[in-house]
Structure formats: C-alpha cells, structure tokens
C-alpha cells in the first residue's frame, strides 16, 4: 500500500508540475529538475488534500486522490496538446525568420536546421558550457559519486537506528501532529490547543498532513512513512541542486554544488531526523531554482509558468514551517522592490505591465496555499510562543547587548556551520571563491541580486525573532540557530555556484567559453 501511495503522490506531483509547465524536447537536466520537484510537490498536494478532507464529507482519501489525478491528467493532456500546437506551427515561421539560408531554402530544410539547433541546445544545456579539462570533470564526477554514496549510507543507517526520528521535535511536534490528524478522526482539532503549547500547535501542517495521508493508505501509523518522507526531501534537495546547476551553469559546476551539499554532515543528519528544516530548505531552494529557470526560458509562457510554480514552491515553504512564511514575505518584498526599481526605467505602459506580469503569476501560484494557511492560522492555530507583550518586546529591542550576542552567534555559526570535518564548508567555499574569482566587475544579474536580498531579509527576520524571543536567548540560539542556517544552506550553495561557477570555469577555458546557449537562444528566439 505504501508503494501505491507513493506512486499516486508522485503522479499527482508530476502532473501538477507538467500541466502548469509543459516542456517538450527538454534536456536531461530539465527533466531531472522536474523529477526532483515531483515527490516534494506530490507530498505538498497530499498534505493539502488531507487537510481539506473534512470538507469532502465521508469521501475516502483514495477516491479523492483518484479524482484529482483524473483532473490533473486531463489538464496535462490539454496543456500538452496546446504546447504541441505551439511547437509545431510556429516552427516554420521561426525558422524562416531566424535560420540562415540553407541550400534550396526550402521550408523542410529550414525546419531540419532548426531541429538540429534545438537538439544541440538540448545537449549543450546538459554538458558543461565550457572546455574544462577532462581530468577535472572526471575527478569532480568521481568525488561527487563518493560523497553521494557516503550520504546515502549515512542516511540509511541512521533511519534504521532511529525509526522514530532523532531528537525531540520529531515525536514531540511533527509526528505527534500527524497522529492527531490521522488518529483523531472528527476530533483531530483537539490536538491543536493551548493545553500542550510545547507541541507548537501553531506550526503549519505540510509534513504532518502528508504523513497522515500516507498512513491512511497503510491503515496504521507506521514510522516508516515519516522516515521515508525525510529521505525523499533530503535527496530531492540534492538532486534539484545538481540538476538545476547543470542546467544553468554546466555539469562541472553542478558536481561542485552537489559535492558541497552531500558533504555537509548536518544536512544528512537533519534530513533523517524527521524534523521540518530539510523539507523547508527544499522548498526554499525550489523557489529560487524556478525563479532562475523562469529567466532562462525563451518562451514567455514557459517563463510565466515557471514563475507560477515558483510561487507554489514558496507557498509550500510557508505551509511547512513558520520560517517559510518569513521567507515568502521576504521574497515578496524583494520582488516588489525589484519591480518598482525597474519600473522607473520603463517608458511605455506595456513594458511596465511586462515587468509586473511575472510577479502577478508568482502570487497566483502562491495564492491557493496561502488561503489554506490563512484559514489554518485563523481557525485552528493558537497564538505562537515567540511573541510577548509589546512593552517587554520593546524593552528587549532597546537592549544593545542582545544585538551583540546574536551577532556573535551568527558569526560563529557562519564559520562552524554544517559539522564539517577540520575545514568548515563556508571557509572552503570562501577559499574557492578567492582562488577562482577574476578581478573584474562582478556579475550584475538583477535576479541574483533579488535572490541574495531575499536571503538577507530572511536572515534579518531570524535576527529580529531572536531579539524579541521571550525564551532565554542563549538557550534559543543554541538549539535553533544551526537549523535556521540549514534552511537556507542548499539555496546559499545554489546561488554561490551560480555566481562563482560562471567566473571560475570561464577562466579554465582560457576565454574559450562556447556561448552555445546564448547563440542558440538568439537563433531560436521567437520573433
């Protein structure tokens, strides 16, 4: 039954992604990105279904899943047929406008030439964009393979040793909430009251509701389900990081990114501990990846579809943990700021609308889950435990020593984060960037700036929470700061290698960077 549940979950995830974002002739990396997103999106949908089940009366969860699968399958078929039409008909016209004249200049030969270029694009996105020495590529591949096997080994052994998760939060919060949802029946709300504040009844329910949904198939609360969910999120995050970097920067940079994440002991430990920090880190990473994918798409519809999915990923983050809500708010602020900044430079109203359209699609993608979260926060969740009375909070805000303590802890954690052995990961990345970066004007991609601004705003939010926390500050920092950093760690690696990777490998090629993708994009751009 668990296999059936997992299959349905994956199918729902895939169809939801593919019906919003259909891609034909996609590369291996693009396909891997989609497959990496699939299980987590499926679990997100599973959680929403389970949460909405009381509204469906006595309907069995399997019937609801099957119905939704049918609806998404239909939507996917419709979208796919539209995409096929879009891809088939404009081919000749695009080829006519952009293809260099070929002998005979017939429509057929132009189409063939276009198809050949498309194929080339397809491969160029997978392989490195640069002429990196082959031995470096091999060493990177081998080392990533070793690190991946080590991470898989560590994760498997830990799951066997700790089937109920490791640490209190697994059974005192996440799996407890899942039990309330699954075993509580009509009385499930009883578990989310202020009588047991230590279980954080205000925490969002993506993880508990998804686990409860899986248990519905099994018929009992088997610890295998949460353990498997933990493994899925851990290795999906790794797969998403590698495939997205492969798509955006080439295979060698992807191997470096994958090596960095799979070699982070704390990431693997937490991934199997059945806490919600790694799932949250996955959705934050997915949001950034889809934002960058949106920019890399040639086709406007593809761009907007990726933006919409990015919004959905951000809302899944908000449905996973309260910190996800903070992240979503930070991203919205950063996007509004970026849109306003660029709007000032636009003259025509159509250009102005073009700047705001992606943001509108992002919000559209996030809206359904945000409504769900608002409903949960309004009707079910009790008040969080991080806010005290205004006078006490103001007093804490006006205490300079608190700022100094938090700053010190942030700095210390930045250096020692991840439980790396001997040389911390952040230091290794700093050394790598110092040795690799060229002395030239840094990459001024507005999207990269927006992403970094979002991370900074999120960190500022974490800082503010520590500032006003009613708990003992040292205790709070000691038991949560490393996990807050972990939530942003895969995204930090992604953005780091997005920025550094381009410059580092640009040097190895001795200026022989083959601007394949840019060339082909220009070649295939819609008129």
């Amino acid at each position: 039954m668990l296999i059936l549940a997992c299959g349905l979950c994956a199918a729902l995830g895939y169809l939801a992604i593919a019906s919003i974002w259909p891609q034909k002739n996609s590369t291996l990396s693009a396909l891997l990105i989609r497959l990496s997103l699939t299980p987590a999106f499926g679990l997100g949908i599973f959680s929403a279904i389970f949460w909405l089940m009381p509204l469906r009366g006595d309907a069995h969860v399997v019937a609801v899943d099957a119905s939704l699968l049918g609806v998404l399958g239909f939507a996917y078929a419709v979208r796919r047929s539209h995409a096929t039409k879009e891809n088939t008909h404009p081919l000749s016209s695009r080829a006519k406008m952009n293809c260099p004249d070929s002998p005979g200049n017939s429509s057929q030969s132009r189409d063939l030439a276009f198809a050949s270029h498309s194929l080339n694009q397809s491969f160029s996105s997978d392989g490195p964009d640069i002429n990196a020495p082959e031995w470096i590529a091999r060493v990177l591949m081998a080392c990533f393979g070793m690190a991946l096997i080590a991470a898989l080994y560590q994760a498997t052994v830990r799951v066997i040793a700790h089937p109920h998760g490791e640490g209190w939060d697994a059974f005192a919060i996440w799996n407890l909430h899942a039990r309330f949802l699954f075993l509580g029946g009509a009385h499930w709300r009883g578990g989310f009251n202020s009588m047991i504040p230590w279980s954080h009844p205000d925490y969002p329910l993506l993880l508990p509701a998804a686990i409860a949904h899986l248990w519905s198939y099994l018929g009992h609360d088997d610890p295998l389900a949460p353990a498997m969910v933990g493994l899925i999120f851990t290795f999906s995050a790794l797969a998403l990081l590698v495939s997205s970097l492969a798509w955006l920067r080439g295979r060698n940079v992807a191997m470096l990114g994958g090596l960095a994440l799979s070699s982070t002991p704390f990431f693997v430990e937490q991934g199997t501990s059945q806490y919600a920090d790694v799932p949250l880190s996955f959705f934050i990473l997915a949001t950034f990846v889809l934002l960058h994918m949106a920019r890399s798409q040639n086709h406007n519809n593809q761009n907007l579809a990726a933006m919409m999915l990015s919004g959905t990923a951000a809302s899944f983050a908000a449905w996973t943990k309260n910190e996800g809500l903070l992240f979503l708010s930070a991203l919205l602020v950063a996007q509004v700021w970026a849109a306003i900044s660029s709007s000032r430079q636009q003259d025509s109203s159509s250009e102005l609308a073009g700047k705001w359209r992606p943001f509108a699609y992002f919000v559209l993608g996030a809206a359904p889950l945000l409504c769900l979260i608002a409903w949960f926060k309004h009707t079910i969740a009790v008040r969080g435990d991080l806010l005290s009375s205004p006078s006490i909070m103001i007093q804490k805000i006006l205490t300079p020593t608190r700022y100094w303590i938090i700053l010190q802890w942030f700095a210390k954690e930045l250096v020692r984060f991840g439980n790396w052995w001997i040389i911390p990961g952040t230091m290794a990345m700093l050394a790598f960037s110092l040795l690799s970066l060229r002395r030239r004007k840094p990459d001024s991609s507005p999207l990269l700036h927006l992403s970094i601004l979002t991370l900074i705003l999120t960190l500022a939010g974490y800082f503010a929470i520590y500032l006003i926390t009613p708990r003992d500050l040292y205790w709070h920092l000691r038991f949560s700061l490393n996990r807050l950093f972990l939530q942003l760690w895969p995204s930090a690696i992604f953005l780091f290698f997005l920025f550094v990777g381009r410059q580092a490998f640009a040097e190895i090629s001795n200026g022989a960077i083959a601007p394949k993708r840019e060339t082909v994009k220009k070649f295939t751009r819609s008129p």
């Binding site: 066997i160 407890l176 002991p265």
Partner: protein, 138 residues
C-alpha cells in the same frame, strides 16, 4: 592555442581552488562514513519501547479522545517521559496536571512514594504505568 602567461597563472589558481574545495569536501565525507552507526552494531533507539509499547495496555482502557491529566517523576527524564506519553496516547490530549477526572501516572524508574491526595489508583499496568482517577469525580 597557448594562453598568455598571466591568464595561465589564473587558470592554475582556479584549478588549485577546485582541488582544495574537493579535498575539504572529501574530508567531511570521511566524517560522514566514520561517524555513521556501524551496520553490525546498530542499536535502535528506545522511543517505541518507552512510549507505544509501554502505554499500549493503558491506551485500551482510556477514552478515544478528550483530555487526561498527567503525573510523573521529577528529574532529567521528566520532560521526555511526558512528551513520550503524549506521543503514545495521541489523539488523547495529555495535560501536565493532576486536576482531571482521569490521570495517567508515569513512573518508569521507581514507583511514587505517595500518590497525590486528590487521586486514587484505578489500575497499575506495570512498568511504572498507572491509571488514576480523581476522588472528587468518583
């Protein structure tokens, strides 16, 4: 094509950066392998025995939902014991208070020297698990 000398130097620096980074990652990977529990000596944690198994018999004697009280030992394990009781008895809510008509007693290490005056023992399930009720509620 031969690269200019300065360009070649930069290239070597980058290669050195990559190799250094790989070395750091592999060091950490070594830690992952060596600090993982050894497959031959895996000791599964005792969460299940401390919660679900211990409270299985008691759970069968409790209502399916609602709120029950709780009394337990004092000491370092008091909080985890209480959390594990709640985990085992969910969807019942276990309130850390003896002021309820039904109260769960959890004394895994030693039986209580004295039961609170307002409570009476209904049944001892063994292994330190007890069902108590309020004298007032009768």
């Amino acid at each position: 094509m031969l690269a200019a000398p300065d360009q070649q130097a930069v290239t070597n620096k980058t290669k050195a950066g990559i190799l250094l980074f790989i070395f750091c990652c592999l060091l950490s990977t070594t830690r992952l392998v060596f600090e993982a529990p050894k497959p031959a000596h895996i000791q599964r944690d005792d969460i299940s025995t401390r919660s679900d198994q211990r409270f299985a018999a008691l759970k069968a004697n409790l209502p399916a939902n609602g709120v029950v009280g709780y009394i337990g030992e004092i000491g370092d394990s008091a909080t985890p014991d209480y959390y594990l009781t709640q985990y085992a008895l969910a969807p019942l809510v276990v309130d850390l208070s003896p002021n309820h008509s039904i109260v769960v007693g959890n004394f895994p290490f030693a039986p209580p020297a004295q039961i609170p005056q307002n409570l009476r023992l209904v049944k001892d399930f063994g292994k330190g698990v007890m069902l108590l009720s309020s004298k007032e509620a009768n």
